[in-house]
């Protein structure tokens, strides 16, 4: 034969007589699916190792030695392979497998959660035999049994596909469910006395191909054909997992993970999956409240807004704009955050804005450090962990990092004050005393020289670190110390390893979007500093404050000193959520006029002068930004309760009552303005947000550049838009319309499936905001407000027809703006002098660490009944040697004192806590770490004393919970 000059990168296979090109190494089942031939399957899942167990996917494969039945989920394609998915032998074998799966199946579809969306049911209807030949007694088990507080198991329905067990073992790293017994008696179960307490247990329910695994929060709640859904983005933490929000009778009843390559791969954590319960919680605020004679009483929106406008205007007029402050905003969508940022700067005239509540990092660090994506971190050779327990605070990021460690050889180097959920997976894990991470980083960068005691360990870690750039996951490991040390450590790392990029590990839902939108002192929308952006924004907005404002701690301190006369709490609850409760109490108490905009009557809201009910996730649209800076869409699914409103509308209305017109009447208009004037977001047009490319989320150019450097080509998040989602549909069987563009934009606007008939009307109303809302607008302001929003959403629904007309002016606008003043440059991190080490500790004291757990006393968890119980009181964790030194035994009740207060609690031995340090989970039920912390100090020192009588109450259950992940 003549020489082959062309190098072929694909292999040719023949499927049912058609020649198809496939990727070398690709599994036959996947190659066939891409080529349009769907081979039935149950055990195969594209995000897990194939096991070839169910045998549903067997097809006749001929690789030159005659046709043989082979499981297509296990066979990599090979050049010249001939496949018959429709031959008689194939069909007979597949039908046989299906019959085998059905003979012992209870077929109780009418009472099964899965009925209507069940692959087994679908398969049976499509291919199965009409009538059963099985006349024997079926297998019986007690139905269903709890595997955990969240997941139930109906063993009669289980087809033993190994998906759940593989997920828990391979993906989550929580091997808590397994096959028990053998042969026909095989069942999936937990180990005795060891519940399936995994943060990721809900994923097993989603990937179970039958109704064997049931989620308690969803059981018997709805039938799939009653469900209406939109694609959205979880905002329970900053990972930003894509998910389907499904509702029945205008109530969210289920979240399902959607498979997007760059972020969550179809997984969700249980908090994100089940927190929808909070939406329909009875405690939701449904109407405004105003304070009358020391009591909060119901009020109309008109009255409440007038009170707010007058209260803030009055404060501004009497004490100056710098006496106003806005705290919070991380719960908001980007559009809301932008409008509030604009309102604060241009109408209230204050730069005292902060979306972070003393638990984050300086905005200059988050926005100014070169950024990494999740993919880039996973593809990096080495990742340095400088921050919180990722498993507890950013669970699906934990899954991604875990996968990279287990399957791609990622090396983790952790610098932390205590052990974390990732410690077991690290190549090196170094402990530092609270407040001294910068010192440890210096030692690490110096190759371990000059360290006390643990020099060998540090030197070993330094060898692993190498000389090249790394990716650093950066956040706050402890709320009991200031962020200065970790920022200094990051700066040192960047200086020593140029090219290093940073993945933010801040946890609050849309905190990154809020920072991008300028909800931080000294920062304006588009990652621009106040100084750099003053002219540009003054141009766009009319005015911006002269001086840099105060952050949350500064604001609360000023308020405590009587210098804040108007305080807006934007979904913020400092009394429960600020690291220093004493300061929060004095601050909120000392502020002259307090407005709380929230979904619940939080402790802080109870002290407000006006409380405005807000619509939350699932009840409003817009976009959100995850920890990578990735922007993805939020979509509304249900109507907010009562007259609760969307935050941006409240801002617009407030501005108008204060005599200003923000000029923004729809989400679309707001986004167009963001795209036009926020420098980092230039080019991210509404049009692009409507493309299927945006289903994976869009990265602002700055982040995207960095990503392409770090990530391997296969990881590129945009080369095959939508394919990952399509694959998920096949395997996860998300009901049909989730991934399509129309539905992602359309449901809830009247074009979705719910639009027909009377249900459609309700769904329309949902799209336009509550009916009451619209009516209320009628009272005092132009009815056009409601109508304007409706129109805007209609625009998004009709992407093709109207997209261009929306997109064009926005593009023109950009040019127009850049004619006037040059677009300001985005923030670059500038390294400041490292803080001198924390104060010396006296020999009686221990230094406190306070990080978070996934299930906490926070609003979402506590208002989600299925999750609330999982947040248990946590003990003080102490190194056994320290306990011994103090003459205490594990489980003893102790007295714990800081400069702030003295508390009584249980102390437990924990080897994960080094000597000299004690750990107390922040924001845990019945436990008050915030009472101990002084936010103005660099670290928190505590003393521990025996209580006369000792008791062990509570220690057992809390231990169980603390190992719950």
């Amino acid at each position: 034969m003549a020489e082959q000059t062309e190098v072929k990168t694909t292999v040719s296979i023949t499927i049912d007589g058609r020649t198809v090109e496939a990727q070398p190494g690709e599994l036959l089942i996947a190659a066939a699916e891409r080529a349009g031939t769907y081979i039935p399957r149950f055990c195969y899942h594209p995000r897990m190792e194939p096991v070839g167990m169910c045998r549903m996917c067997i097809v006749e494969v001929d690789t030159g030695r005659g046709p043989a039945l082979q499981p297509s989920c296990m066979i990599p394609v090979a050049d010249g392979m001939t496949v018959s998915t429709e031959s008689e032998v194939t069909k007979k074998a597949q039908d046989g497998v299906l019959e085998f799966l059905l003979i012992n199946h209870p077929l109780d579809c009418p009472v099964c959660d899965k009925g209507g969306e069940c692959p087994l049911q679908d398969q049976t209807l499509a291919f199965g035999p009409g009538e059963s030949r099985f006349v024997e007694e079926k297998r019986h088990y007690a139905k269903p049994i709890p595997l955990s507080d969240l997941v139930y198991m109906d063993r009669e329905r289980c087809i033993l596909c190994d998906r759940c067990t593989r997920f828990s073992t391979e993906v989550a790293g929580d091997p808590l469910i397994t096959f028990v017994n053998r042969g026909n008696a095989t069942e999936v179960n937990t180990f005795p006395d060891d519940p399936f307490a995994s943060y990721f247990s809900g994923n097993t329910v989603q990937i179970c191909p039958v109704g064997a695994l049931l989620a308690r929060p969803y059981r018997f709640k709805a039938r799939p054909w009653d469900l209406d859904q939109v694609e959205s983005t979880c905002t329970a933490c900053a990972v930003g997992c894509r998910m389907a929000v499904q509702s029945s009778s205008d109530a969210v009843v289920r979240h399902l993970g959607i498979d997007v390559d760059p972020v969550n791969w179809g997984w969700l954590c249980d908090k994100g999956r089940f927190d929808f319960e909070a939406l329909s919680d009875e405690g939701r605020l449904t109407t405004p409240f105003v304070r009358r004679e020391d009591e909060l009483v119901e009020a109309s929106w008109s009255e409440a807004l007038t009170r707010v406008a007058e209260g803030l205007a009055d404060a501004r007029d009497r004490h100056g704009a710098a006496s106003l402050a806005v705290l919070g905003g991380a719960r908001l969508a980007n559009e809301d955050a932008y409008v509030w940022s604009k309102l604060a700067r241009s109408v209230l005239g204050t730069d005292n804005v902060d979306a972070q509540l003393g638990d984050g990092l300086p905005a200059e660090a988050v926005l100014g450090l070169p950024r990494a994506t999740i993919d880039a971190a996973c593809a990096a050779g080495t990742v340095v962990l400088l921050g919180p327990d990722i498993k507890e605070e950013l669970p699906v990021l934990y899954l991604r990092l875990r996968d990279a460690v287990v399957h791609k050889g990622l090396r983790l180097i952790e610098l932390s004050p205590t052990e974390t959920g990732l410690t077991r997976l690290t190549a090196a894990s170094l402990r530092h005393r609270p407040g001294e991470v910068a010192q440890l980083m210096d030692a690490l960068l110096a190759g371990g020289r000059g360290t006390r005691g643990d020099g060998v360990e540090v030197a070993e870690a330094a060898a692993l670190l190498g000389d090249g750039p790394v990716v650093c996951v950066l956040g706050r490991a402890s709320l009991a110390e200031s962020p200065d040390s970790v920022v200094a450590a990051a700066g040192a790392l960047l200086e020593a390893r140029p090219g290093t990029t940073f993945l933010s590990a801040l946890r609050r839902g849309n905190v990154h979007g809020a920072l991008d939108m300028g909800l931080a002192p000294g920062v304006l929308p588009g990652r621009v500093s106040l100084d750099d952006g003053r002219a540009w924004f003054a141009d766009a907005w009319g005015s911006v404050p002269e001086a840099r404002g105060l952050d949350a701690t500064g604001t609360l301190s000023a308020a405590a000193a009587g210098r804040i006369s108007g305080l807006v709490l934007l979904g913020a609850d400092p009394l429960a959520d600020f690291p220093d409760r004493d300061l929060a109490r004095r601050g909120v108490g000392g502020a002259g006029f307090v407005v709380a905009i929230d979904a619940f009557l939080t402790p802080s809201a109870q002290q407000a002068d006006v409380v405005l009910p807000a619509a939350v996730f699932g009840e409003r649209g817009g976009t959100t930004t995850n920890l990578e800076g990735r922007i993805s869409r939020l979509n509304q699914k249900v109507t907010a309760p009562g007259s609760a409103r969307v935050d941006w509308m409240i801002a617009v209305e407030l501005a108008s009552r204060m005599g200003a017109d923000l000029g923004l009447e729809s989400l679309e208009e707001i986004w167009d303005e963001i795209e036009r004037i926020a420098p980092s977001h230039a080019g991210l047009t509404s049009d692009r947000l409507r493309t299927s490319e945006a289903l994976d989320g869009l990265l602002p150019a700055a982040t995207a550049d960095v990503e392409t450097e770090g990530a391997p080509p296969t990881m590129s998040q945009v080369d095959e838009p939508g394919t990952s989602a399509a694959a998920a549909q096949g395997t996860d069987h998300l009901p049909g319309n989730v991934q399509t563009e129309e539905s992602s934009l359309g449901t809830g606007t009247g074009s979705g499936p719910g639009a027909e008939g009377s249900e459609g009307a309700a769904s329309m109303a949902a799209a336009f905001g509550a009916e009451a809302d619209v009516a209320d607008y009628g009272e005092g302001t132009t009815p056009a407000e409601g109508g304007g929003e409706a129109e805007a959403i209609a625009l998004t629904a009709d992407a093709v027809a109207q997209g261009a007309s929306v997109g064009e002016p926005s593009g023109g606008g950009t040019e127009g703006a850049s004619e006037g003043a040059a677009s300001p440059r985005t923030i670059r991190f500038a390294r400041s002098a490292a803080p001198s080490g924390p104060p010396k500790i006296d020999s009686y004291s221990l230094r406190l660490v306070s990080g978070r757990k996934l299930y906490d006393a926070g609003t979402l968890v506590q208002h989600s009944p299925s999750l609330a119980g999982l947040a248990a009181a946590a003990p003080l964790r102490v190194n056994p040697a320290d306990l011994h030194r103090l003459g205490l035994t594990s489980g003893a009740r102790i007295r714990l004192s800081s400069s702030r207060t003295t508390l009584v609690m249980v102390a437990e031995a924990d080897l994960g806590v080094p000597r000299g340090t004690v750990a107390l989970t922040f924001n845990q039920v019945g436990q008050l770490a915030a009472d101990l912390i002084d936010a103005t100090m660099a670290v928190t020192d505590v003393r521990l004393e025996t209580l006369a009588e000792t008791s062990r109450v509570g220690s057992r259950s809390s231990r169980r919970e603390s190992s719950g992940g």
């Binding site: 296990m74 007979k92 039908d95 497998v97 003979i103 030949r133 053998r182 026909n184 008696a185």
Partner: protein, 449 residues
């Protein structure tokens, strides 16, 4: 009825009182092969084994030398795993080898490890075999103490370790990949081949040779006498001596070492020094030539030689060397149900057709035996069988992961083909008899096998 006068190879110490001790073993030539081999190269040992044409004795009959040659060059560590899980009904030869001549196996393991350059070997012994476990452990301790296992073996500078592992009572871990899973500490469930061919991705995903106990017990003799001497026994196609475990309705059940290819089933069953004929002067109804998974043989097969090729060609297999004899008193339906019950009970549950199908088959047979059979059951039995083993052919095709599922089909196919009237009689006499369907030959298409 000539039983050949070929020398015994691996049962020579069975009757010695001290054959299982190190002293007794060495007195009778033990460990000489090892010392000789250590003076030559691994390649020499491998060459002898290849020349011996030693077929694996675990069931599949794959030549050991060829298998050893599959190990990819230069991939280390690599392991030798000894399959001592012997659980096939009627098979009890490996147990005797471990109980009566444990050093012979250990020497075989050492030689094989030397030949394939493995530094660690694992002997996996069936959980229930307490005596074999104890004797192997004792022997291994003796061998370690004598410097024959461990570091610097017999002063040669070559080192290797042998690890003993006891099973936990599952037939399926006799299947080599399930055995490997079990060795790694997981549930004994077979892996898929491809990609998990042990020689490439075996124990701890490293190249691994799995051999049966009897296979390895032959190695010391082969090394001592040369591969050609072994190949000179038996026939060109089936070389050497082989153990057959004879059971069932014969006068002298037992394990017999006979020359392959030159001995017939009739010799084995009827020779006075071997089986001694059917018990109580009865007549032969059927016999299973190679373990419960093998299709049944009958009178007309008695004069077939004990040769792999011949038996394969006749539609069954020598398998594990277990010959089970059934006389005229045997109820074919009950015998069939009993065997199917075994496989249903031992199914690991990993794949659907075996997990569900074998139990279903057993349920149908039970129902027929209980007088609840229907005429449609005969067709159903065959169609369910066909869904486990498409075509019900021999060698079997399978929709399953491993051959256990199709093993349950063998007795059904055999019994229904040969003894269909017995099934019909149960149905006829049962509660669902009704009218016998006419004109339907449920066996059409499979009767020829």
């Amino acid at each position: 009825m000539a039983v050949t006068d070929a020398p015994k190879i691996i049962t020579t110490r069975f009757d010695l009182d001290d054959g299982r001790t190190l002293a007794g073993y060495e007195r009778t030539g033990g460990y000489e092969s090892l010392r000789a081999a250590l003076a030559s190269s691994p390649a020499d040992v491998l060459a002898e084994v290849k020349a011996a044409n030693l077929q694996g004795r675990g069931g599949a009959g794959f030549p050991a030398g060829t298998k050893w040659g599959f190990l990819p060059a230069d991939v280390h560590p690599r392991y030798l795993v000894v399959n001592g899980d012997e659980s096939e009904p009627g098979t009890y030869k490996d147990r005797l080898l471990m109980e009566r001549d444990p050093h012979q196996l250990i020497e075989g393991v050492l030689l094989a490890s030397y030949a394939v350059e493995a530094k660690q070997a694992f002997i996996y012994v069936r959980g229930e075999m307490a005596v074999a476990q104890e004797r192997l452990a004792t022997a291994l301790n003796e061998a370690y103490a004598a410097g024959l296992v461990g570091r610097d073996i017999a002063g040669s500078g070559w080192s290797m370790d042998v690890v003993l592992h006891w099973g936990a009572g599952a037939y399926i871990v006799g299947e080599e990949t399930a055995l490997i899973e079990s060795l790694e500490g997981r549930r004994g469930m077979p892996r898929l081949k491809p990609p998990f061919f042990p020689a490439v991705k075996g124990l701890y995903l490293q190249p691994t040779i799995v051999n049966n106990v009897e296979t390895l017990a032959n190695i010391p003799w082969i090394v001592r006498n040369g591969g050609a001497a072994f190949a000179g026994l038996g026939t060109e196609e089936s070389a050497g001596m082989r153990l057959f475990a004879l059971s069932g309705h014969v006068r002298n059940p037992g394990v017999y070492e006979v020359e392959m290819g030159r001995t017939t089933f009739r010799d084995l069953i009827e020779a006075p020094v071997l089986g001694g004929g059917i018990r109580d002067g009865g007549t032969l109804k059927a016999f299973i030539p190679g373990g419960a998974s093998a299709p049944w043989f009958y009178e007309e097969h008695l004069d077939l030689p004990l040769s792999k090729a011949t038996v394969d060609k006749a539609g069954s297999m020598l398998g594990s060397g277990a010959v089970v004899v059934m006389d005229h008193t045997t109820d074919a339906v009950k015998a069939c149900a009993r065997i199917v019950r075994f496989f249903a009970h031992e199914s690991c549950g990993k794949c659907t057709p075996c997990r569900e199908g074998t139990t279903w088959l057993h349920q149908i047979l039970q129902r027929i035996l209980a007088g609840d059979g229907r005429w449609s059951d005969l067709e159903l039995l065959l169609d369910v069988s066909d869904n486990i083993s498409p075509g019900i052919a021999w060698p079997p095709r399978q929709t399953t992961i491993c051959p256990l599922g199709p093993s349950a089909v063998s007795p059904i196919a055999s019994a229904l083909r040969r003894f269909r009237p017995e099934f019909e009689a149960y149905i006829e006499g049962g509660r669902h008899a009704g009218a016998r369907p006419v004109g339907v030959d449920v066996l059409a298409g499979v009767a020829a096998g």
